[in-house]
């Protein structure tokens, strides 16, 4: 077994702290969520909302821009949790937009399905652990050919030149190539995460009070809305914007604070790593 820091010792109000403390133990949000829900039986609504956002922003910075695709994963999960939590804390509202409601259920079901899938493989891994531990109790015979037979074996170097040797060495030493391929692939999303903050910081000061809906008009893919939502939250955390929501599920009013002293560059650095 391995060392596992217990989350029980950590006040629930400071989930952000617990995530930071346990990054070496928890392998990401699914791991954390599964453990919280199944082992610790923590009710998610007991965790403070800002703590969730903080936790994921912390997680985001920890990733140091290595893989923004994963970062957006975090954001998506964070956003769903925030939304679920918001619903549960607020009294029942009868003016819920059915489309929004449907969308949330959809997201929730997706998250649930992914948690179940993650749990499935975690349990499968337990079997692999048992198998490998059993197998590790035996060592295979590796002595190989006895001297008289060595001369018989096909000549290892037959047809092998210095070039082949160089290639073999590079093959053995090379860092595996997948990183670069994937980075190109996710480049558009990478830009959007950083840009969401930059764009908003450029537009909002002169925009007066706008609604979140205005800011996300025309965005088809839900992930872009999520990214923008988290960008707003980040600006709020930085003290750059005020947020106002008249009632639950009502329009979120966003207004730039007149006293905001915010340089978008600082934050972009944080995202880019």
């Amino acid at each position: 077994m391995w060392v596992r820091l217990s989350i029980v010792d950590i006040p629930l109000g400071s989930w952000a702290v617990s995530v930071t403390v346990t990054t070496a133990v928890y392998q990401g949000p699914f791991d954390l969520l599964l453990d919280l829900i199944l082992r610790e039986e923590v009710e998610l609504y007991e965790v403070s909302l800002s703590a969730i956002v903080d936790a994921y922003l912390t997680e985001l910075e920890r990733l140091e821009g290595l893989d923004l695709e994963m970062a957006t994963e975090f954001l998506l999960i964070a956003a769903i949790l925030v939304e679920l939590k918001t619903r549960r804390l607020l009294p029942s509202d009868h003016r819920v937009d059915p489309d929004d409601e449907f969308g949330l259920w959809e997201e929730r079901d997706l998250l649930l399905a992914r948690l179940v899938e993650c749990k499935t493989f975690k349990d499968a891994a337990v079997v692999l652990r048992r198998l490998s531990e059993e197998a590790a109790r035996s060592w295979p015979r590796r002595a190989g050919l006895e001297a008289p037979f060595l001369a018989l074996a096909p000549d290892l170097l037959d047809g092998v030149g210095a070039e082949d040797l160089r290639r073999a060495c590079e093959r053995a030493l090379a860092p595996r190539p997948s990183t670069h391929v994937e980075t190109d692939h996710i480049a558009p999303i990478r830009a959007s995460v950083a840009d969401a903050v930059v764009e908003l910081a450029a537009v909002l000061p002169d925009a007066g009070t706008v609604t979140f809906r205005d800011l996300t008009t025309g965005m088809v893919d839900r992930i872009w809305v999520v990214v923008r939502f988290l960008a707003i939250l980040e600006l709020y955390k930085q003290g750059a914007v005020d947020l106002h929501q008249a009632d639950s599920f009502g329009e979120i009013q966003v207004s730039w604070r007149p006293d905001a002293n915010f340089a978008a560059g600082d934050l972009v650095d944080a995202y880019e790593g």
């Binding site: 391995w2 392998q27 990401g28 699914f30 599964l34 829900i37 199944l38 923590v42 009710e43 998610l44 990733l63 893989d67 695709e69 994963m70 994963e73 999960i77 679920l84 549960r88 009294p91 029942s92 409601e101 929730r108 998250l111 649930l112 992914r114 948690l115 179940v116 993650c118 749990k119 499935t120 493989f121 975690k122 349990d123 499968a124 891994a125 337990v126 079997v127 692999l128 652990r129 198998l131 490998s132 059993e134 197998a135 590790a136 035996s138 060592w139 295979p140 015979r141 590796r142 002595a143 190989g144 050919l145 860092p175 595996r176 190539p177 997948s178 990183t179 391929v181 994937e182 692939h185």
Partner: protein, 220 residues
Amino acid sequence: MDTPEQNDVSSTEFAEAADGEARRAIEAILMVAVDPVAPNLLAQLLEVPARRVEAICDDMASMYRRERRGFTMERVAGGYRFQSHPDQAPWVERFVLEGQSRRLTAAALETLAIVAYKQPVSRVQMSAIRGVDVEGVMRNLQHRGLIDEVSRDPGPGNAVLYGTTQEFLERMGIDAVSDLPPLGEFVPGPEVVEALERSLRVGPDEEALVVDGADDTAGE
């Protein structure tokens, strides 16, 4: 020479003698082999049907067990090999010293599980399932020879697809990936799904409790 075999012309005895000779040849070959030797190869070398090779090998394996040898003959990664008996591990460990650096971490095992069951699978797919970037773990697994690139995704992006290796089978002590228990066995039971659902419910608490119908704490 030690025990001269007499030649009584019974066909069973003849067959037994032939099996005995095949057994000796297999013992000799496995003694010099570095990797598991496939039954087909043994069949080809000894010029006997693969089916009979497998039967002989099974007999040999149980003979060693019966004789309480310090070694066993196992079918691993598609072939037969000699290996030390698991109950002799304490002695062998003393001898080989390298000890447990072979141990796999939780992250490695979970990633391996995904590759084993979903192969061929891309890095992005694995990351999506685990909810974290798996690149570091994968590079480690690849360096250890447990997984490898097996093909390219024909779709856009041509992502590299990964699968498990012979080395993986050897490390798990299994003959083929199909020897792993079916993934269905690991799908969480209703009580786990319920616990997850309850924690992720939509809407105010009172309502959710009514919908769930059960407010007892399930969990494991």
